[in-house]
Symmetry: C2
Subunit: 395 residues, 2 copies
């Protein structure tokens, strides 16, 4: 990928209106069109200036809309729904929502009202789509061409999943997966397994998973999975099942398509299969959010965000010369815990000219962002620092 890669270029190169129309049908998003798309009704409360509307179910936060105040507001937070959300009636009486538990000693359904009396915790997490950064792959990838904005850092309140499981006598033995099912309505006449949002995560996720009913201090909006969402801190977005209606401890991963063949790391051109790595724990990542195009010569503020994914981020470095030399960039503000991101700011004196700014984060276990991405068919998990850089002109 060249130093001057612009994710919009791919669409521009497609050229004709016919090509644009066909890419839309494929789920690709010519940003020149997207910029003019209005917010879908169910998220009409979001901030249009901060978002790129790829489709009704895929909205990306603009790169420079991310600030340094750590949290991403509900109004700026990206949307990625695998299916259209259920009707608003499900949040009319939030406490009446029920989730069924299976694979526990005393299986039963439990209402959100009762869940709220079992325990409460609050955790900050980076919520990130597996395909964030997909636009930077060289090969043609199907799926939304996210650059950096299928990610945000938010605060959730809910009950630890372990607390609920304990209240049901604990999970049965030898069931190594937690399999959760979303409450989306499935279109009739199609194989449910091909559509249902049902995800399995390894049992180790029980350490940090919560059932969340609040987002950034507000009742969890329907668009983000309200009234109740499974949140697995440190895991990619797809594992955070919205409108969760069932949580089961299972011997095997679900055979739903979204798990069995979807969200797998596989060689380009190869089909998805259960023996390929699943998009579970996130990797260490960072990117610069400002400046993106140009800045005045003199003191220049370079800012961005860095996170460790499944492990806490330790530090981040910035390069002004495309990765030849690096300097530490300080974090600003309090740490919101191991699963949050940390804004960083580096202020430097720059003379007029062209610069390639890149950032590289490391987690507390010494994992650093690689220079290049792991190439894979669907364009998942891109954390290569080179592609995430920005070329700016100092004038």
């Amino acid at each position: 990928m060249s130093d001057n890669f612009d994710p919009r270029r791919r669409q521009v190169l497609l050229g004709s209106a016919v090509a644009l129309a066909s890419t839309s049908l494929l789920g690709l998003s010519p940003l020149s069109l997207a910029a003019d798309m209005a917010l879908p009704d169910y998220v009409n409360w979001k901030t249009p200036e901060a978002l790129i509307v790829h489709s009704a179910n895929t909205l990306e936060t603009k790169r420079d809309a991310i600030g340094t105040s750590i949290v991403t507001s509900n109004e700026q937070l990206f949307i990625r729904n695998n299916l259209p959300p259920p009707p608003p009636s499900i949040v009319a009486d939030r406490d009446a929502w029920t989730v069924a538990f299976k694979g526990v000693k005393n299986p039963r359904s439990i209402s959100l009202g009762e869940l709220k009396t079992l325990g409460v915790t609050t955790v900050a997490t980076v919520l990130q789509c597996s395909g964030n950064g997909r636009a930077f792959f060289d090969h043609e990838t199907s799926g939304t061409q996210w650059a950096t904005g299928a990610a945000g850092c938010v605060l959730w309140s809910g009950v630890p999943l372990k607390t609920v499981v304990d209240a049901m006598g604990g999970s049965l033995g030898d069931l190594p997966y937690i399999t959760s099912t979303g409450g989306e309505e499935l279109p009739a006449g199609l194989d449910p397994k091909s559509l249902v949002v049902e995800r399995s995560v390894p049992l180790r996720a029980l350490d940090q998973a919560i059932l969340a009913w609040e987002l950034n201090g507000e009742p969890l909006p329907l668009a983000h999975g309200g009234p109740l969402r499974l949140v697995v801190p440190g895991y990619y977005g797809v594992n955070n099942v919205k409108y969760v209606k069932q949580v089961a401890f299972t011997a095997e991963q679900t055979d739903a398509k979204i798990q069995a063949s979807g969200y797998r790391i596989r060689p380009v051109g190869q089909g998805g299969a259960p023996d390929q790595p699943s998009m579970w724990e996130m990797n260490v990542k960072s990117w610069i959010t400002q400046p993106l195009e140009q800045a005045k010569a003199g003191r220049v503020r370079i800012q961005g965000v860095a996170f460790g994914g499944a492990k806490e981020v330790k530090n981040v470095e910035v390069s002004l010369d495309g990765g030849k030399s690096w300097q530490a960039a300080p974090f600003v503000g309090p740490s919101l815990g191991p699963y949050a991101w940390r804004p960083f700011v580096l202020i430097v004196d720059l003379k007029p000219g062209d610069y390639r700014l890149v950032s590289r984060a490391s987690d507390v276990e010494g994992n650093a962002q690689p220079e290049e991405e792991l190439v894979n068919e669907r364009g998942y998990g891109h954390n290569g620092w080179r592609d995430h850089g920005v070329s700016i002109a100092i004038v």
Copy 2:
């Protein structure tokens, strides 16, 4: 104040429609009317369900709208403006906003664009009006009858004030006050000193004050003082000067009315004067946010918020019997630093009956909430735990 005090009762007792009309003129707010008032245009992006509209310039967050996710969203945050906000044109080109510095070695005006290149920090603070809790005083107080909702916990990004002062050669000696002026337009024909929002804080506030341009990850909204606001962590809201256009180090406190006689702790019936305590550092405080009226017998979740004010909060206790006996209530979620509030949750088993729930916080220096308020003419600084309790029925 009785155990069953309801801040709405005062208005209800006033009885007639004439009385209601007259209290409106006085700035009192019959909540039964307020509940039907629409959001003023300049804050039409806020969440109406979460707010009580006392007037166009005073909006209160409903007590049970405060959740456990620590941050108060911009959409839920209270509004208290001493004057109507300036026109939206001042946020059209945010970086062009200038603030004049005086009382420094090299006094000059500096643009927001330049401020952003001097340094960046992020701090969480409780933003609270001096009159929060005014509704709980026994004597008649003029001013908005806030109960608990003239407060929120938010994240600010900006430059430390000290960094800016250092860049101007430091402050001149023997100038013990920082005096800041807001950019509101003053109505013609009236004495500017009687209206201008100009506040002096002691020089010690330089340790933590920032000039903020971002609120909860978004560009600081005009309604909350954008494009630039002086934020003095740990200080009452009035000191956090909106649309700040001048910061001066001064030998004396300003003689503007809002400082000289306003926002002073004074005996009931006495006028305001510069020798009375000014509303600077906040005191330790807490209140329960849920439940407020009733809950089902069995496991009941009691939640609230606690903060130390100018010092970090250390712990909070809850009483189920109006203060006869107490038990520790655990905080939930990460600490966002000494100036933030901490949500607490206590889950208890309750039998049917009537309960008086109260909470009492202490800061790290051992200051605890008093049982009663310090009675004062204008109803400022109420942190007495008794009045902040709630009477609930367990059914």
